[in-house]
Symmetry: none
Subunit: 554 residues, 2 copies
């Protein structure tokens, strides 16, 4: 399927709004901005950023994006219709959504008569007016409208006439997209298929008479979108069924994050649509960033990636067993449904020494190190990498540590200081409200031992402070380094408090940022190693200014 | 849908064979037996136990089951067809499968011409003979046959005539079930639907002439089954599509365990078939054991249960947000696609920053505490909750801590011990490979101070050990408590190492599990508070046996 001939499918990401309903997930504004920028790089056409009328944090988020807009994506603000018996123009939620300053807004309204009566406690007629007024008001204010029809499928099954009326008023008021939501996630693909087909033909018949038809700045007719949840374990199939019945927008979240059982997973939907059903969602070059984006976002929200996730999971293209492995190497088609490289994943031969060479070489290139397959150092680095990974290290997000490892193997790692040990003491004394933390470190610089101690808010802060104190006289630029992020993941939660701990530390100096990793059963030791490598890498950046090494294979 | 009028669907579980291909999963014979017995109680008609010809452990498993047979289920042994250019009667694998002593055997063979030539390195004709001979031989030995057509969908797409010939020889040889396998997991529901329809009509047309038709001890005609994998994130939908196209057996695994992205998840398929599509899979009383079975099996294989799993996950019927909660309590239909009790799950009201009074009241009821809106304590609890949440506490996952908080406000929290302080010392000494952790705690029980110290793998393990040592003489049941999970989240990662840390600790005693939370800028203090509350809640469960308090509003 060539890219040019493929019909367009409009992907609408709601990781930052509906995805945030996921139990156990909460993120800062800074994290939301990082996620938005990674979705923008991925080329997602619509990114729903939040509900500024309901969440003060989201107001800040939209203000940030007004200052530094996205490159590719339309950022969308989300809101409900006005409340019963109010005026759209004086509804505070709608003022908040206008304040978000987006070109597009998504308004959700009720499709199910039961919800209108039981949840909104209003009349069916007033609900229609709420939908119409809200959209008209926002259109007059210059906004383009996506209308999310909440509980669409349940509503349509109970009272199809009323459900269709809600769409009709949305169209009349000027919505460009009508998104059918399976809010409770109870529908199965055959139902979605039938209902979407009916809606598509109903809307097409209506919109022949609509005045919008000739406005070239708009989508040609109100198009149909689909928004599904995974309660029946068919969210992806439901979305695909809707597409095959005529929907042209798919709403979902990265990694399927969302309330209860999650939303439709865009990491599955995009490759299914683009590689199997022949739609164009994003550029092929962007598609090859999908796996990396999925993992990056799971790091940002600090939820362990699902190793068995379709397409982007670490096990998605893992092959066990000898015959199987040689067959897949001879002809990947025999055991793989797509080429993993198309989505930036890779085949993984479990227990093969040769897996990952290309990754190592690719990584080396990204550090400006020329390595090749024949170089015996390449095998050594790979071996070291595998050993560390089996101990729980992970270098996906800790490239600075991986570069130090690689330079170590190549003999080009400069030793700025030598660590000789640490001590940490914490206590919470009877009668005191707050605990106390003290750290002592011993390092050697140019053969000279230095011992320093410092207090901190907690033991890691104390360790960081003591290390800086010990080194700053030799390397004054350390005063400019900042420890900007600190993340902890318990690797085998089931081993309880004696589980292994992986710590990621992000450091910054001016515009440069780098991440280092430490692993240990002792959380303080893991933190110590990550902080030490963070300081070392900062010095490496300062003094070595990324020389391009050329390591020949001879 | 009444149970009696529903058509039967034959569920075939392959957790013990295909499920074991899941990366990170390996179990003992004893564990396999425990899983088989739990599936037997669930009423699964067919349980595939293993491949005795390939795996010596599986031979033992079948021998055990010969001594202590299952009550409800047919246990099935699995094997490939004979190899090219051998005799079925002298093929060791087939002797092994006969040795398993099962009534039913499943034989898998190649459907895809490419695999016959590239993997088996034989001719298309010999492959047909391999299928026919193997089934005939086992039929003569008195076995009933399920035939698994491996790579069916890819094979049919490439060479439908040859693929159908493989089924025809299986029918002629006496197979009672023909199971179409999407081995690579690449098919989408619309393809499965079309292909299964074609096969069903093709097989029906053939079998009118078969001699088996009049044998009442057999399934009336060779019936069609479906076996799907989740590589496209549509395994469940693919199975349902096959059923709607005429398949009458569904193969899958509990929790979707399996190679790469897993097999079709029976925990989703069974409720979809039985509660939504009107098929009878198991008794309704057995269906209400589904959640428990899913969790039991995840315990046995020692993989953390997926909290967001459809139907059986802990979050599958979790509700956040005030309006939402009061609506679901008035009319569950508004926000739930099925009644959670039908599958043995339960509604869960999540306590979060969006919580209103109705969440607090619902939660209180679930703890057996009668509170009402007018009670001033209710407002106090809500206020306390919001204060703690603004400090970084989160009770979504820490219900035990929330119950302690609530009982504290109501004056019904029993003080088993008083904490008076702790000290932790960690060091990594020059020349040593491993760090060392020592904790000292001071607690008072019945007015008597106790000071104890202990070492650990890390500081949290040391703290936990010291606390237990201090308390176990007073409360010997503490020896039975186990710290089963430990999670750390840095709340404002951007504050670097002085960020706030939230620690969740899951504890267990026998079948009971509970989770507690601690928050501090000092990770050790946060851990300490969570561990202390974990011990306290365990004692509360032991001594107070959840009395139903009746707190009036007066």
């Amino acid at each position: 399927m060539t890219e040019n001939s493929s019909p367009q499918m409009w992907i609408y990401d709601t990781t930052l709004r509906d995805g945030m309903q996921c139990e156990g997930l909460s993120v800062s504004i800074e994290d939301k901005l990082r996620i938005a920028r990674s979705l923008d790089r991925l080329g997602i056409p619509f990114i729903e950023g939040g509900w500024p009328g309901a969440n003060p944090k989201d107001v800040q988020f939209f203000l940030h994006l007004q200052e530094e807009p996205l490159q590719n994506s339309e950022i969308v603000a989300f809101c409900s219709t006005r409340r019963p018996k109010t005026e759209a123009s004086t509804e505070p939620m709608l003022q908040a959504i206008l304040g978000a300053g987006t070109r597009w807004v998504t308004i959700f309204g009720k499709s199910w008569d039961l919800h209108v009566i039981e949840s909104l406690k209003t009349t069916l007629v007033e609900n229609l007016a709420m939908i119409q007024d809200t959209i008209e008001y926002l259109r007059i204010q210059g906004r383009r409208i996506v209308y999310d029809a909440e509980h669409w499928f349940d509503g349509y099954k109970h009272n199809p006439d009323y459900a269709l009326q809600t769409l009709e008023v949305a169209i009349t008021a000027g919505a460009e997209w009508l998104v059918l939501c399976d809010t409770n996630g109870g529908s199965l693909p055959h139902e979605v298929s039938q209902i979407v087909s009916s809606v598509v033909s109903h809307v097409s018949s209506l919109t022949n008479q609509e005045p919008w038809t000739n406005d070239k700045s708009r989508f040609p007719i109100p198009q149909i979108g689909i928004h599904t949840h995974n309660d029946s374990d068919t969210a992806v199939a439901n979305a695909l069924a809707a597409v095959m019945a005529g929907a042209r927008m798919v709403q979902g979240t990265i990694n399927g994050y969302g309330e209860r059982c999650g939303n439709a997973n865009l990491c599955s939907i995009i490759p299914n649509l683009q590689l199997k059903l022949g739609y164009k969602c994003i550029e092929n070059s962007q598609l090859s960033e999908l796996t990396q984006t999925s993992r990056f976002i799971s790091e940002v929200v600090n939820l362990a990636p699902d190793e068995h996730a379709p397409f982007v999971g670490r096990s998605a293209f893992a092959h066990k067993g000898g015959i199987h492995v040689s067959a897949v190497e001879r002809n990947p088609l025999t055991y793989e449904h797509i080429q993993p490289e198309q989505i930036g994943n890779c085949r993984r031969i479990v227990i093969s020494e040769h897996s990952g060479v290309s990754n190592v070489l690719a990584k080396a290139r990204s550090f400006g190190i020329e390595l090749d397959k024949q170089n015996p150092k390449t095998a050594q680095i790979l071996q070291r990498l595998k050993t560390l990974e089996s101990e729980g290290y992970q270098f996906e997000a800790a490239e600075a540590s991986f570069e130090l490892l690689m330079r170590s193997a190549l003999g080009s790692r400069q030793q700025f200081f030598e660590i000789k040990g640490f001590q940490v003491h914490c206590d919470l004394v009877e009668g005191k409200e707050k605990s106390h933390a003290l750290a002592t470190v011993k390092v050697a610089v140019n053969g000279k031992d230095i011992i320093e101690a410092a207090e901190g808010n907690g033991p890691v802060g104390a360790l960081d402070a003591a290390l800086r104190k010990a080194l700053v006289n030799f390397y004054p630029q350390i005063a400019l380094f900042e420890l900007t992020e600190y993340k902890v993941r318990i690797l085998d939660g089931h081993a309880g408090s004696s589980a292994k701990t992986r710590v990621l530390v992000e450091s910054r100096s001016g515009q440069q940022r780098w991440t280092t990793v430490g692993v240990s059963t002792n959380i303080l030791e893991a933190s110590y190693h990550a902080v030490v490598e963070g300081l070392e890498y900062g010095l490496f950046l300062h003094f070595c200014a990324i020389p391009v090494l050329n390591v020949s294979s001879s």
